[in-house]
Subunit: 203 residues, 4 copies
């Protein structure tokens, strides 16, 4: 692991600690990655706890999800990371979280509309609160290749999609680097929680 | 206490700190144990605060709940730990928590059905979100031997039970070792909180 | 400040940090004290932040609330602490918190009934979950002497009262020492939050 | 940066860390400032994360919002800070937060009435819980000069206004120094959360 890789890994470890304190990556839930170059990424290994990551919990894989080191096993959902890195060369990091709010909302709706929030400005291509985005919800599927293909078809049709949810499972968000991806997770989770709290209010 | 015991104790102390930060072991609530061998376990002493454990708060007891050291008093609910270790030799750790979500749900329902969550995959024998488990709720009882017998009868009839609740009291979860048991607590508490938040929403 | 006082102060400072992390002592809200002997107590000074206490934020006062040091000003609500220390010589510490749950409940009800919780066993004189206690709610009053007299009359009539609330203001709880008082706060706040969450659920 | 400036910056950094732990400044949301003298202030730079501030994230600007250092860019909402410092010479610090509670409430109401809370005593000019204040809600606007003019007109008409909200965006609060402003944020956020929790209860 070179110095740049170590920096990426340290930013991912810090994101994991923050997310776990917030309750967004319970147990071994979630997975994180960062692009290294045009053809490879660093990604969390299968089955580790995302709030207690160490550098040895990361491995290098190509964008077909194949580990470069013999004997390592990448996260079960590696192909969803690959899909994003192949879809857009500007994507430098992908973060997947399981929060209470995103899980509850994703089990009830086929898409989450976020409108009128100042924090929308954290999302790609948005410069005003006076905007609306749809975060689509995909049905969960243990066949990750099939799920990745559905995500890919959706993003090709609606390239402005800022992030997506998998029902009962969680959020996939991304950015040019780990910090931008993390900031978007913070903004999205904030807006999801606002939506959930709003729906619990009396009329 | 030998080196292996000290490792077990350190993992239980760390679990307690995490659980207390989350509000899952208020005051002296909860108790934790880890199996040492076929016939003995380490278990928290009676009356200590589970977020501020030190090695001296643990004692060794046999699987009838009898402390091996003279003058020590094991947790009031020791027999519930014994029941699990005797029921299944593969159980290596037992964690009991009192969260807001598990307390509120356990006071309202006779069992909690968890279905469609990705995190179900943390539970024993489940490899897909497309599953449903029932976490049974037992009526609380200050006669712990009687309560342990009811739990034992239930588990013998339904050995796939992944964990159980005691009404107004809390969760009992287990695993092959302390970390697996803790991960299951994190996953179960997450799903309980999702259930509770969902039930607070308007239709 | 002698060694015993310093120990009491350190336990109160630790309680304040924990309570602030939980959101139970916002801003300068709350106040804490510990009995020194039959006639004096240590109590937080007026206007300090209870999550960031230092030893100099405490002063010694007699049980009429009069500071022993010239020029120090005790907490505005000192007479409520005095009432408890005079009411029962076994009371060694008094903790006053402002949580979301205790504030919301105290604005809606004239008393909070807690029944069927395992954590009731943390309260004085209770050894089973199969019990019920009433935490009375007093109307708030900026005339603290008058409020203290109302509390005193209530406690003399119902000496088993485990703690009390002031409407829109917060909880007063106590114990033989700082740790027992803190554990009772943890248990009471837990049960208040359970009550609040339960009331937000659909029937 | 002189010694007094460094102290102000350290207090603002500490406030940011606390607010982020509470979830009140997600991502790059929020901004903070402290007055230096009659004509200048320290303010957070544009686009930095408010929970992870370092001294280099602050710059000096005059009360028209113009940075004194060449090449620095002040927070996008600098003019809202300027408005307050120009409006009242006694204002020494301004803190802007984005909490779940203030965001949800500000999207539903044109003003938030806070009455009967002991913590009202933290607000300017209030010495009893038996008071009521209105926290006005302004419509969000990406034209900050126009928004600042609306705020200014409102405050000139109702100078007792203790703080204000921007719909879907957040809270602006202030005080004589950073600590007083922070304490008011803690008190206001507490009362907003109480209001939100109350509205989620069944009748």
């Amino acid at each position: 692991m070179n110095a740049e890789d170590l920096t990426r890994v340290q930013r991912l470890i810090a994101a994991g600690r923050l997310f776990h304190r917030r309750g967004w990556v319970p147990a071994t839930g979630g997975n994180f990655s960062a692009r290294r170059d045009a053809g490879t990424m660093l990604i969390t290994a299968s089955g580790c706890h995302k709030g207690e990551l160490e550098p040895e919990h990361f491995l290098v894989a190509d964008l077909d999800g194949k580990p470069l080191q013999v004997g390592r096993k990448a996260s079960y959902e590696t192909l969803l990371h690959c899909q994003l890195y192949r879809f857009d060369v500007a994507i430098g990091a992908v973060l997947h979280t399981h929060s209470i709010a995103n899980t509850v909302l994703s089990r009830r709706y086929e898409g989450i509309c976020l409108a009128g929030y100042e924090l929308l400005k954290l999302l790609p291509g948005i410069s005003t609160h006076d905007a609306a985005v749809i975060v689509p919800v995909f049905e969960n599927d243990q066949d990750i290749a099939r799920l990745a293909a559905r995500v890919d078809a959706h993003l090709r049709e609606r390239p402005q999609t800022p992030a997506y949810l998998i029902a009962g499972h969680g959020l996939y968000a991304w950015g040019a680097d780990v910090d931008q991806a993390r900031w978007r997770v913070e903004a999205l989770e904030f807006m999801f929680e606002c939506e959930l709290r709003s729906q619990a209010l009396k009329e």
